[in-house]
């Protein structure tokens, strides 16, 4: 009986770890070398990256194609505005609670929507986000259709605008690192194997003892909680929230899908590469108005048809480098 064991491609492990360490120090120290607008841009990038990592986990691994994650971004934003802005709850607990509320809401939403499979789930999740939008717009307490501004007095208690930008950046950095770690550890565990099996063939996976419904619900819960955290920190940065911006399908879902598809669906590195490409493109195309979105749409379609593995997939095929070693190889 030969002995089998599972190996991972960890050839570059030490180098990658050192690289990440250096990068992390560099990013933590950003407020000491970057100005306010750099910090704001970095905060936004961190938020998008966290959303992309989670959407990748949903669609690329668990086979849950949600186009309704804006529901949870919006809930997170409104929760933090209510708790910190209206009720005077301290900042960090407010943000954590925003994630918690979004995550808890994902349970009933998931239980209802997982009755729809595949593509139907996608539109069902969008309907759910519309319901959230319409309900929020009905609430006078939350400023109804015109939304609300974050009270200036509370904002000032977090420091002046530069100090606030630094504080929000550190929180956003913590959120994105948490998202990456969760996704990485999840995918390395046996649950990650179950997710990949589900994505490839749901029926076969459940035949081998994978509880498909529970796995999907767990991923959906975590992804929605992260969306809540991201919504909380990004809208705090803007100091203003309204139903149409909070539950914007283009902003919080179309852009994220673009990032994941370009970077490489079903690859953790894909989200990182995609986020960088997205912000570069946005920077270059900012002056072109709606043409910018048309170009993004075209790039996404061409990528899907001609290069479905995405940019990181291409790099991987050429070099076999994995920054996050996830692939399992059985050796005897």
């Amino acid at each position: 009986m030969p002995n089998y064991k599972i190996e991972r491609n960890e050839k570059y492990h030490t180098g990658v770890l050192i690289g990440f360490g250096v990068l992390l120090v560099f990013l933590v120290l950003l407020p000491f070398w970057g100005d306010k607008s750099t910090m704001r841009l970095a905060t936004e990038m961190a938020g998008y990256l966290a959303l992309a990592v989670m959407w990748n986990l949903l669609a690329g691994y668990a086979g849950v194609m949600s186009i309704g994650q804006q529901a949870f971004v919006g809930v997170g934003g409104y929760t933090v505005f209510t708790l910190a802005g209206l009720w005077g709850v301290p900042l960090i607990p407010s943000i954590l609670l925003a994630g918690l509320v979004a995550g808890l809401l994902a349970i009933p939403v998931g239980l209802i929507l997982f009755r729809l499979n595949g593509a139907y789930f996608a539109i069902g999740s969008w309907v759910m986000a519309e319901i959230f939008l319409l309900l929020t717009a009905q609430s006078d307490y939350l400023g109804a259709g015109s939304g609300m501004s974050f009270p200036t007095a509370v904002a000032k208690s977090f420091g002046n605008s530069t100090e606030r930008a630094a504080l929000f950046w550190w929180i956003a950095l913590a959120i994105v690192i948490a998202a990456l770690l969760i996704a990485y550890l999840w995918l390395r565990s046996s649950r990650g194997l179950a997710l990949t099996a589900m994505r490839d063939d749901e029926v076969a996976a459940s035949g081998l003892g994978v509880n498909v419904m529970r796995n999907k619900l767990q991923v959906f819960l975590v992804a929605s909680a992260v969306a809540g955290l991201v919504g909380a920190i990004l809208f705090l940065g803007k100091l203003r929230i309204s139903p149409t911006s909070a539950y914007d399908v283009n902003e919080w879902t179309a852009n994220i899908i673009f990032i994941v598809v370009i970077g490489g669906l079903g690859r953790l590195e894909g989200a990182v590469v995609g986020t960088i490409i997205f912000f570069l493109l946005r920077g270059f195309l900012a002056d072109f108005g709606s043409y910018y979105l048309i170009i993004l749409g075209l790039i996404a379609i061409i990528t899907m048809l001609k290069m479905p593995q995405g940019v990181w997939g291409l790099i991987y095929d050429k070099t076999q480098i994995e920054l996050f070693p996830l692939k399992r190889k059985i050796v005897s």
Partner: protein
């Protein structure tokens, strides 16, 4: 009381139109197993084609179908042939993402050409004429729309069960590979299905464009309505689609009767309730 009855009748009448929105989506899903996320934006594109035809040529809005329907058929056929056929038969993700991309392109393209202004087609006097039964008045335009909707749904039923192309479509829907072995050009069949769906969209686009105003960003709400109707009515049943349309129309009308701001919300909530109670829809599909 008569106001409530009025509201419900309005709901039923617009329900016919909703069923038309859904018929196209359902046809495309039935044959290609693709949920077309650009469906709503294609309907809005049809409305803008009608708007352009009437404003450039100065013809009556109803006559614009002469231009809109062939253009929509062509658009549907080309999109399917050039783009979507490459994604058929893969897993669920590529067609969804590609149609989502098309939706974004259409929305922003329309925005670039027509700006975000509200537009509306003018059907003339028929829009305000109504018939009176006791305290209840029913607009002739709503009746016209409803009758058109029923006629088109009956026509679709006829095409799919009584004509050659209908048989080919159903065979391809059941099993594309076997259909291909029997000599069906499935790539062409898929494109024809999309063209037929787009003609139905074109008709509903013209009718709806006079019912209420539209902007380049109206697509998603049309898509969601079409989708809800398909789920409520059950897949693969054309008459189920009609029942789904009526259910959604009445739910919206009733919500709007209680509070004008609740109209869309009531429709979405009716959808969720039906989803929870009966996952397969009111009419059980295949």
């Amino acid at each position: 009381m008569s106001e409530l009855v009025n509201t419900i009748i309005q709901g039923i009448l617009i329900g016919g139109l909703y069923a038309l929105f859904a018929a196209g989506l359902s046809l495309v899903f039935g044959v290609m197993r693709v949920v077309n996320l650009a469906h709503g934006d294609l309907i809005v594109t049809g409305s803008f084609l009608a708007f352009t035809a009437t404003s450039i040529l100065g013809i009556h809005a109803a006559l614009s179908v002469v231009f809109v329907l062939p253009l929509m058929a062509l658009l549907g056929y080309s999109i399917q042939r050039a783009i979507l056929n490459r994604t058929v038969g893969t897993n669920v993700l590529p067609p969804l993402l590609v149609t989502f991309g098309i939706a974004i392109i259409l929305q922003n393209g329309l925005l670039q050409i027509f700006t975000a202004d509200d537009r509306k087609l003018d059907f003339g006097n028929i829009e305000i004429a109504s018939m009176q039964i006791g305290n209840i008045s029913i607009g002739w335009y709503s009746i016209l729309v409803f009758v058109c909707a029923i006629a088109i749904i009956a026509g679709l039923q006829f095409i799919s069960y009584k004509t050659r192309i209908g048989r080919v479509l159903r065979a391809t829907a059941d099993d594309p590979e076997v259909a291909q072995v029997m000599g069906v050009d499935t790539r062409h069949t898929f494109s024809v299905a999309m063209a037929i769906a787009m003609v139905v969209c074109g008709i509903s686009a013209v009718l709806f464009a006079a019912w209420t105003s539209f902007t380049p960003l109206s697509g998603p709400s049309r898509l969601l309505i079409a989708f809800e109707v398909v789920v409520i009515g059950g897949l693969g049943s054309i008459w189920g689609t009609l029942i789904g349309g009526l259910t959604l129309g009445v739910a919206q009308a009733f919500g709007g009767y209680l509070n004008p701001a609740w109209q869309m919300l009531a429709g979405h909530i009716a959808f969720i309730i039906i989803l929870v109670l009966r996952p397969a829809g009111i009419f059980k599909g295949r």
